[in-house]
Symmetry: C2
Subunit: 115 residues, 2 copies
Amino acid sequence: MKIGELSERTGASPRALRYYEQQGLLSPDRSANGYRDYGPNAVAMVETIRALLEIGLPSALVRDVLPCTVGERAESACPGLLAQIAALRDDVRSKAARLETVEASLSSYLKDNAA
Amino acid sequence: MKIGELSERTGASPRALRYYEQQGLLSPDRSANGYRDYGPNAVAMVETIRALLEIGLPSALVRDVLPCTVGERAESACPGLLAQIAALRDDVRSKAARLETVEASLSSYLKDNAA
DNA sequence: GTAAAGTCTGACGTCAGCGTCAATGTCAAG
DNA sequence: CTTGACATTGACGCTGACGTCAGACTTTAC
């Protein structure tokens, strides 16, 4: 499939898809005319990419993670990735916790000053 | 206190402190020579600011939230702030949850491919 | 009195994940 | 054959929270 179709089927803009490729997240074939030619699994790949990016993973990490989540049997190992993911998760967790603290203090503040 | 001292006592760079002022988060007095003159409570204010920014609040929201968390009795109300905070908290929460999902899948992947 | 250190106000640089032209090439339809 | 839709690369714009000069002034130390 060409970039327009993949764009429609994933919701990612063509610009985003080219950007993903530039970042090494996708490696589509090229047709004779130079057009990008994506395989059918590209849809799932892009969806995974977008999900990971939305969560907050930097594209470099997504690039490393991707073969581990998609490939049934990855040829290369994924050393240290688990630790990186866990670190990021802990970071997000602590932020969530602190956000709750802030929300609680604001909440009680609003209660006290109930007009 | 001058900007250098506040910088040392908070860990925020002078540049950051000026930026906070520019964003309306701080309003230090000015000495006769034009130097910024921060009161003693500025330390706590800056710490709060940094904490909120680190959590992910945009500076505009911090500006609105700040008088509610710091001021014992704020003159102005904080309408809608609670909702914004809650929305952000939910967002961070869901991201944390999805991160855990990713981490779990990666974790099981690594188990299967234990070298 | 002079040099070093601190402060001031611009203003441009940075990184990420794209948006948005711009100029050009290619393919399907009439 | 020409129009129009879709493709290509290249490059600049954008937002946020600052970093990093540059040039000028003030204060501090000796």
